[in-house]
Symmetry: C2
Subunit: 120 residues, 2 copies
């Protein structure tokens, strides 16, 4: 991910209403959530939420798909991976010793029960 796209992603999430909307859509993976439902659950007018969802979609954080009357939004998890990787690699670039404590933070998330498989 280049800087120009990373800035779009960061800016999209750096707004309370949009961050909440994104978290809400994320929680409803993989079913997705119609735009009106997002607006209703967060108590925001539909047109305002539509603008926010468009910004999140343009940043690649969510995707939209029409289902009859509704337009269902789904989270693009790969973009989350990319932006997190962008942040971490920005620290590690040429200095792997700074990266290690960052990686340690994520591993317990992958294996909450026990360790021992190939990755963790």
């Amino acid at each position: 991910m280049e800087s120009t796209n990373a800035i779009d992603v960061l800016a999209a999430l750096a707004q309370p209403t949009r961050l909440e909307a994104f978290r809400l859509v994320m929680q409803h993976e993989p079913h997705g959530l119609p735009a009106g439902e997002v607006a209703r659950l967060l108590d925001v007018p539909q047109n305002t939420m539509s603008t926010h969802l468009a910004i999140l979609a343009r940043a690649g954080l969510i995707s939209s798909e029409r289902q009859s009357r509704s337009i269902v939004y789904r989270a693009e998890i790969d973009t989350v991976r990319q932006i997190a990787s962008f942040l971490v690699n920005d620290c590690c670039g040429g200095r792997p010793e700074l990266c290690e404590p960052l990686v340690a933070e994520f591993t317990p998330c992958c294996t909450p029960k026990e360790a021992g498989n190939a990755c963790c």
Copy 2:
């Protein structure tokens, strides 16, 4: 990290000049970089850069320390860890199966040579 602080961090990085400044300071760990040097290297007026550095500092991404005439800025790597963790945990909350591909992205950074230790 709560949402309100996460938004400050995201907003601080969601700006080209500030993102470049932060990456520059990050590259000069652990020595740090004086404010004027950051402004000179990025070809930005000192007062403009001072404002940007203050925003980064208020978000907790960098810290400042006076050294005689200069004010040296250093990166706060722990905040990077926290914001990356915030992004990833937002996806994994209640859904660990979505987290695994995210974690896999970071592990090669931790062990570029070979695998086999306790964590990775």
